[in-house]
C-alpha cells in the first residue's frame, strides 16, 4: 500500500503543471469562447510533445517516455487543473493506448511515433445516441468487404472529429464487435457540429457504407468487445483524473477568494458556514482523488478494475456537481462573472460528470455487478 509518488511520477506532475500553468491563461482560453475557433491550442500541443508528455505512456521505441497509465493519469489531472484546450484524453487514452496494447506492430509503427510527436491526431467515437456503452454498439454495424469492412451507423460526442487523422470506433458485426480506425475524410462520412457548453464541439458522425481497409482494423469480431471494454475503462478513469484537476482547482480558487473577500468587516472565510462548505469540498475532492488513483494504479498493472473504475466515476460525477455549485455559491456573483476564471471550470466539471455516463448510470451498472456477486467487499 503506497500512496506516494515515485520520482518519475513527481517529475511528470511537475513538468506538466509547469508548462500548463504558464501557457494556459484566461486570455488564451477566451480565444475559444463562443466557438470562435476550434478548441485546440496547437502551439501548446507542440510544447507538450516536445516536453515528451504526449508520449508519457508510449514505449520508448515509439518515441515515448515508456511510463504507464498512472503517469498518464497524473498528466491528465494537470490538464484538468488548467482546463487546457488540448485533446489529450481522446488522442492518448481512447486511441493511442489501445493501438499500443492490441495493435499489430505495423499499426503501432504507423501511428504511435506521430502520436508522441504531435504530428498526427487521433480521436475516438465511443457513444451512440441513447447508448453510452462503448463495447456494445447498437446503431453502428459493419459487414465484411474483402479484407476490410464496410461500416454504417451513427456516433455522437466525437471530439475533434474534423481535425483527426483517424477516429477509433466500434461496430457490431456478425459474431461480435470490430474496432476500426476510420479516416474522417473517407467517402460516406458526414459530420455535424454539435455545440456543447464547454465550447468544445462534439461531433455527430454519420457513416454510410464507409470502406475501411484491413490495415485500419484494430480488432476483429472475437476480440473487439474486450478491446472496447479495455479502452472504455481507461477513458473513464481519465475523465476522473481530469475531473480531479478541475475540482481541486475550483476548490482552491474558492478558498483563496474566501480568504480575501470581506463582508460585515471580516473575511467571509471566518464564517463557519463558509469554511464548512469549503471543508465539504475538501472531503469530496479527497475521496475523488483516492478513488481515481486507486483505479489508475490498478489499470496500470492490468488488474481487473471494473468495480473501482465505476466507483471512481460515481465520485467524479457527484463531486463535480457539488464542488461546482459550492464554488459558485461561495464566490457570490463573482463566481459566475465571465471576467473571473471560475465559470469555465464549472462547465468542465459538468462535462466530466456526464461523459460516458453520469452517476446514476454508473450506480446501475455497479448495482448489477453487486447482484451478480461480483462486487463484494474484500
Amino acid at each position: 500500500m503506497d500512496f506516494g509518488f515515485s520520482e518519475q511520477q513527481g517529475e511528470v506532475q511537475t513538468l506538466a503543471r509547469q508548462i500548463l500553468s504558464e501557457q494556459v491563461t484566461p486570455e488564451r482560453l477566451a480565444a475559444y469562447d463562443e466557438f470562435k475557433a476550434e478548441r485546440f491550442d496547437r502551439e501548446l500541443w507542440q510544447q507538450l510533445a516536445q516536453a515528451g508528455l504526449l508520449g508519457v505512456a508510449l514505449e520508448e521505441s515509439h518515441g515515448g517516455m515508456g511510463f504507464g497509465f498512472t503517469e498518464l493519469a497524473l498528466f491528465i489531472e494537470e490538464v484538468g487543473r488548467s482546463i487546457a484546450p488540448v485533446p489529450v484524453i481522446p488522442h492518448l487514452v481512447s486511441a493511442a493506448a489501445p493501438i499500443q496494447r492490441f495493435g499489430s506492430s505495423e499499426l503501432q509503427g504507423r501511428w504511435l511515433p506521430g502520436v508522441a510527436s504531435g504530428d498526427v491526431l487521433l480521436t475516438a467515437a465511443l457513444m451512440e445516441p441513447g447508448n453510452e456503452e462503448p463495447a456494445a454498439p447498437s446503431l453502428t454495424t459493419a459487414t465484411l468487404d474483402g479484407d476490410g469492412y464496410r461500416v454504417s451507423g451513427l456516433k455522437t460526442c466525437v471530439p475533434f472529429a474534423r481535425s483527426a487523422d483517424r477516429i477509433l470506433l466500434s461496430a457490431a458485426v456478425d459474431g461480435g464487435v470490430v474496432v476500426l480506425l476510420v479516416d474522417p475524410k473517407s467517402a460516406g462520412i458526414s459530420l455535424e457540429d454539435v455545440r456543447y457548453s464547454t465550447y468544445e464541439t462534439q461531433y455527430q458522425l454519420t457513416l454510410q457504407d464507409v470502406q475501411v481497409s484491413a490495415a485500419d482494423v484494430l480488432a476483429g469480431p472475437t476480440a473487439g468487445a474486450a478491446v472496447m471494454q479495455w479502452l472504455s475503462l481507461r477513458t473513464t478513469a481519465a475523465l476522473c483524473a481530469h475531473q480531479l484537476g478541475v475540482t481541486d482547482h475550483s476548490m482552491r480558487m474558492t478558498a483563496s477568494y474566501s480568504a480575501e473577500r470581506k463582508q460585515f468587516g471580516v473575511l467571509i472565510g471566518t464564517f463557519q458556514a463558509v469554511g464548512h462548505r469549503a471543508a465539504n469540498c475538501y472531503i469530496d475532492v479527497e475521496c475523488l482523488r483516492l478513488n481515481t488513483y486507486q483505479a489508475a494504479s490498478l489499470l496500470a498493472s492490468e488488474a481487473d478494475a471494473t468495480n473501482e473504475v465505476q466507483i471512481a466515476k460515481v465520485w467524479a460525477g457527484d463531486v463535480g456537481h457539488r464542488v461546482s455549485y459550492a464554488s459558485q455559491h461561495l464566490h457570490g456573483g463573482t463566481g459566475i462573472d465571465r471576467d473571473y476564471p471560475l465559470w469555465r471550470y464549472c462547465l468542465w466539471a459538468r462535462h466530466n460528470e456526464m461523459m460516458l455516463g453520469g452517476s446514476a448510470r454508473q450506480l446501475a451498472a455497479l448495482g448489477a455487478r453487486i447482484a451478480a456477486g461480483e462486487a463484494y467487499c474484500a
Binding site: M1, S301, G367, G373, A378
Partner: protein, 395 residues
C-alpha cells in the same frame, strides 16, 4: 504509487482473520452482543488474556516496551480484522493510554501497570468530559490540589465509558487554576476506581450503550499517579485523541455488514419468486453504499500509510473522521431500506429478526461519533484551516 496491499500485509490479514475466527466462539459473540459491544464479561476477559498471552496486545508499541513494533498500516489491518470479527477490543487502554504510560510514565507505570496492560489484565477508562466541558474540553473543572506530598482530587466527570468495569480512570484535572491559558493548567492522573471516594452511576443511552457519570470525592493519590509533567496534560490528551481516531471510523464492520446484506438480499425472494437483490432500487441503494465504503477504505488506508511514513496530515485525519462518521449514518439508512421493516426488529425477537438485529441497533448508536471523538464541526474547522488555508474566526 501502488494502491494494493503487499503480499506480507495480505498474509498478516489472513493470519488475523483465522485467529479471530477461532477466538470468536458463538458463546463469546453472544456475550459481546449482550454487553452492547462494550465487553467486560467473563468470556470477554478470558479472550483478552489469551490475546495478551499470544502477543496480540500492544502491537504498535516499540519492541523494547514489550510490544510488537508493528507499523501503523499493520496496526490498521489488526484493528480492521478485530472489528470485523466483532470483538470489542479495549483500544483506549491498549492503544491510547498504554503507549503513553510506556513512553512518558514513571517506574511504577512502566514496571507494574504496563505489563498488566500487555497481558490483558488491566483496563482503564477515560475521564475527560464533564457536565460543563464537552467540545470545549479545556473548560474542565475537576481539580487536584496539593496537600503535603499528596494530591486531593474532587469533581465530576460525565460519559466515563467502561468505568464500571475498569481498574483505573485516566483523569484530566485542573492543577493550576491561575494558568494564563486554560489548557495550560491541566494534568493527567491515574485514579484507582476502587478508591472509597470514587463512585459511578449509569447513564443509559438511546443505543443501549451504557456509559457513566463518575464522581471524585476527596480522593487522595500520590505523585506516582501523575502521568507526564505537572500542567503538561493537554499534550497527552490531544495525542491520545489522534490515536483514537484510527479505530473510530474503521471500514471493517461496515464492509462486513454490506456483504451480509447483499447475501441476504440475494437469498430473499419476493412474492413472485424473484430475488430481492434484482430489484432496481435495491441495487441502487447497495451501489451507493459500495461506493461510499470504497472511499472510506482508501481514506483510512491513506491515513495509516501516512502514519507509517511519518507524514500524517492534520486535514486528512479530520477528513477520515468526518467522512466516516457521516457515511456510516447514510449507509445504515440505505441498507436498512433494503432490509425493510425487519430493519426495525430488535435482536432476540421471537420472529422477523434479520442479521441479529444489527441494523436496528446501529440506527440508535450511529450519532455518537459525529459529535464524540472531536465533534465534526471542529474537524471541519481544521480541514478548512489546515487543508485550505482559510482564515479562522477567533474562539
Amino acid at each position: 504509487m501502488k494502491v494494493e496491499f503487499t503480499p506480507q500485509q495480505n498474509a498478516l490479514r489472513e493470519e488475523l482473520r483465522a485467529y479471530f475466527g477461532e477466538l470468536m466462539t458463538p458463546e463469546l459473540m453472544d456475550e459481546c452482543s449482550r454487553d452492547m459491544g462494550e465487553g467486560g464479561g467473563p468470556l470477554w476477559r478470558t479472550a483478552l488474556k489469551k490475546m495478551g498471552a499470544d502477543g496480540w496486545i500492544g502491537l504498535g508499541w516499540p519492541e523494547e516496551l514489550g510490544g510488537k513494533g508493528m507499523s501503523p498500516i499493520e496496526q490498521f489491518i489488526f484493528v480492521e480484522e478485530i472489528m470485523r470479527a466483532g470483538y470489542p477490543f479495549p483500544f483506549l487502554t491498549t492503544e491510547s493510554v498504554g503507549p503513553q504510560l510506556a513512553e512518558n510514565g514513571n517506574e511504577w507505570h512502566k514496571t507494574e501497570l504496563v505489563p498488566k496492560i500487555l497481558a490483558g489484565e488491566l483496563l482503564i477508562s477515560i475521564g475527560y468530559s464533564e457536565p460543563g466541558a464537552g467540545t470545549d474540553l479545556a473548560a474542565l473543572k475537576t481539580s487536584a490540589v496539593r496537600d503535603g506530598d499528596e494530591w486531593v482530587i474532587n469533581g465530576q466527570k460525565m460519559w466515563t465509558s467502561l468505568a464500571h468495569f475498569c481498574d483505573y480512570t485516566w483523569l484530566a484535572v485542573r492543577t493550576d487554576p491561575d494558568a494564563p491559558k486554560k489548557h495550560k493548567g491541566i494534568s493527567m492522573f491515574l485514579v484507582p476506581n476502587d478508591d472509597p471516594g470514587w463512585s459511578c452511576t449509569p447513564v443509559n443511552t438511546l443505543g443501549d450503550v451504557r456509559t457513566n457519570a463518575t464522581f471524585y470525592d476527596n480522593i487522595r493519590v500520590s505523585d506516582r499517579n501523575l502521568v507526564g509533567e505537572l500542567n503538561g496534560g493537554w499534550k497527552l490528551i490531544t495525542s491520545q485523541l489522534n490515536r483514537e481516531r484510527l479505530s473510530l471510523v474503521n471500514v471493517g464492520p461496515t464492509a462486513v455488514l454490506f456483504n451480509k446484506v447483499v447475501q441476504w438480499a440475494s437469498e430473499t425472494t419476493l412474492a413472485d419468486g424473484s430475488r430481492l437483490v434484482d430489484e432496481a432500487w435495491v441495487q441502487g441503494n447497495l451501489a451507493r453504499v459500495r461506493v461510499g465504503i470504497e472511499a472510506l477504505k482508501l481514506v483510512c488506508y491513506k491515513q495509516a500509510w501516512a502514519m507509517s511514513e511519518g507524514t500524517l496530515d492534520m486535514a486528512d485525519a479530520s477528513v477520515a473522521k468526518v467522512y466516516g462518521s457521516e457515511f456510516f449514518i447514510e449507509a445504515y439508512r440505505l441498507l436498512g431500506e433494503v432490509v425493510g421493516q425487519a430493519s426495525m426488529v430488535k435482536a432476540h425477537s421471537e420472529a422477523g429478526e434479520v442479521l441479529q438485529g444489527r441494523i436496528e441497533r446501529l440506527y440508535r448508536t450511529a450519532s455518537i461519533i459525529t459529535f464524540g471523538g472531536g465533534t465534526n464541526e471542529i474537524q471541519r474547522d481544521i480541514i478548512s484551516a489546515a487543508g485550505l488555508w482559510i482564515p479562522r474566526a477567533s474562539r
